[in-house]
Point group: C2
Chain length 414, copies 2
Amino acid sequence: MTKLVASIVTVGEELLVGQVLDTNAAYLAAELTRLGIPVVRSWTVGDDKEAIRGALAESMRHGRLTVLTGGLGPTPDDVSREAAAALIESNLSVDTAVLAAIERRFALLGRDVPAGSERVASVPDGFDVLPNSRGTAPGLWYEADNGSIVVLLPGVPHEMRAIFSEHVVPRIRALSGRTVIAQRTLQTAGIGETTVQRQIDAISHLLDPDVVVAYLPRLHGVRIRLTVTGEEASDRLDAAERHVRAKLGTAVYGCDDDTLEGILGDLLKRRGLTVAVAESCTGGLVLHRLTNISGASSYVMGGIVAYSNVIKQHQLGVDGDTLKQFGAVSEPVAMQMADGVRARLGSDVGLSVTGIAGPSGGTEEKPVGTVWLGYADDHDTRAVKHQFGRDRRRNKDKSAIAAMNFMRQILLQS
Amino acid sequence: MTKLVASIVTVGEELLVGQVLDTNAAYLAAELTRLGIPVVRSWTVGDDKEAIRGALAESMRHGRLTVLTGGLGPTPDDVSREAAAALIESNLSVDTAVLAAIERRFALLGRDVPAGSERVASVPDGFDVLPNSRGTAPGLWYEADNGSIVVLLPGVPHEMRAIFSEHVVPRIRALSGRTVIAQRTLQTAGIGETTVQRQIDAISHLLDPDVVVAYLPRLHGVRIRLTVTGEEASDRLDAAERHVRAKLGTAVYGCDDDTLEGILGDLLKRRGLTVAVAESCTGGLVLHRLTNISGASSYVMGGIVAYSNVIKQHQLGVDGDTLKQFGAVSEPVAMQMADGVRARLGSDVGLSVTGIAGPSGGTEEKPVGTVWLGYADDHDTRAVKHQFGRDRRRNKDKSAIAAMNFMRQILLQS
């Protein structure tokens, strides 16, 4: 088969008024790219049968895989099925198996079958049904003679994602036949894009020439996406990953959907360590991120948000003279905060953040964005300084990430 | 003039691989809607001159206002200018005033003028230049004979937004002539969509029949968007807002871009009160949200994240027998946490959250999503219970919002 490319069509008035971000389009774009199918176009249209049909027709004319989300609900506003039927000039009829599945679903919930269910169970002739394990409206799949494919999925994100991964991905994989694509994204922290790129350039002679490396910078750190196509793609990807990890060392904290807080949680659990955090400028963000992980209560004891100096003294035992002499944003205060929170809360590890988030409060010596991080355990107390920018929210985010990464690096070395 | 409708075209490969969410499209959709210009279509295309020209041409054929973002940078990948020139079959030439502005900008920064600046300063004949106060690439504006308008804006969000509000909005306002549109979004918390709708239905006889009311639910609470078109729109909007506020009372916490934490900060500052927070299940999120507000250090003393019962006892003075008898997620513990954090940190107001975020840890009596909020001040200590759902992250978010709203409601009544 010729190389498949994709278009995405998202349907919904709420997208055209800017009320919600189009996360479905971003999800589908990322997943199709991961499958090795480039997305060449994305449309957003309202609940308008002719607009939907037009977008589908243009994409189909180019022989693409078209994935549409939205407009499959039970109300007369939901016209994606009608548009798809018009597209291939076929009729809509109620699929009794789909209707029965909907009736079963509501019977189990002890509720009446809602109005409009026959609409939801209507399928354009020529389309296959892709069952919906999370809701009522099934996905629909059509292959045209020119090799183009039209897939309709409901707009509710978790239903869309379930049908996509359970039914669309296997069908796409079957189509792609022997073309095997393997892809992995390595997550890094504490290292800039230029450095990452230079380090990988330095080992480029070691990498399989077919490995495509992409750099995806974001606030949380640079991601490195490795893609390999063809025979033994998976083994060659593993080899490439080993070379990159060997070069970058602990700057790589995980891959694909790993988060810094999740990795840190695994590390603490494995070592049997508990942590407590003393936060000033991050105002609770480090603790919030750590406790986003399910099961965090087994290693996060808690923490103290010490926004005022009085609290740094009374709740964390920071020395008043040290505060006077060095200021709250300083190496000794960061260290005393880490020691103090560890001692007061009785944890194995103490972590601290003190800085000037901005936009005001900076001085010439300590401009906005100056942040000290402290770490304390049984053997050692230390601190490190960062200089971030002028934006309050970004400074909080960057400080929280840097603090988690600081602790991770120390734990890996100890 | 006939009623103007709009299309949005966003340009960038990064959008087609799902690497970033298309916040520009959402911003433009919201702003155009606010201006009373319905957005009927949105496209995303790669850095492909013919794809860009095609999208612009289709939109122009329908006589629309088309706003494009992206593809105006200095590299040969950036081809939106070329596409626009091809669209109206005109030539690109360097605009000396734009080039001089770029040179001045870099001279001020003490840096060399970067390669590609002539490209950035190129303007298709027939297009007006919209100056960029935040960066180098200017916006471009074209009005066709059929009344359609094409606007090109850079893809960097803060530059795009600056040009849009400084230059595009005034030009659109001038075009719309006497058609005046006034719009305001009221923000509510602690009240469901059905209740909001029922309450407003009950006062519908008081509202100007031309007022369009839209309900925009989100996690943080239902937003109510009021739109009035025509003569004296602004006064009629004010009248409608007064009726809605009179009916809903303190459930309305603000309008347009107000946040709960910002409103709460204003309230605390106005009363000269300080606050401290004791958090269990929210793990620092309430403090994080409160300290997102610039200047929060004048009223947020800090707080204690007490994830373990030992810390609830030692750091907050919660009674061990109470914990044993009622459990950590209970009315008396929420009240003791609020009292304790207030006493220990020396604040005027103490706020507390204790609950079961999930996904595990629930019991039949206290299922996942059970949350107690506590409030304490000089006169009074009280607590309130909420029952949220099964999702950990949503439970943290909902609990933090409910806690801030709980405090706001009490402060308003006292």
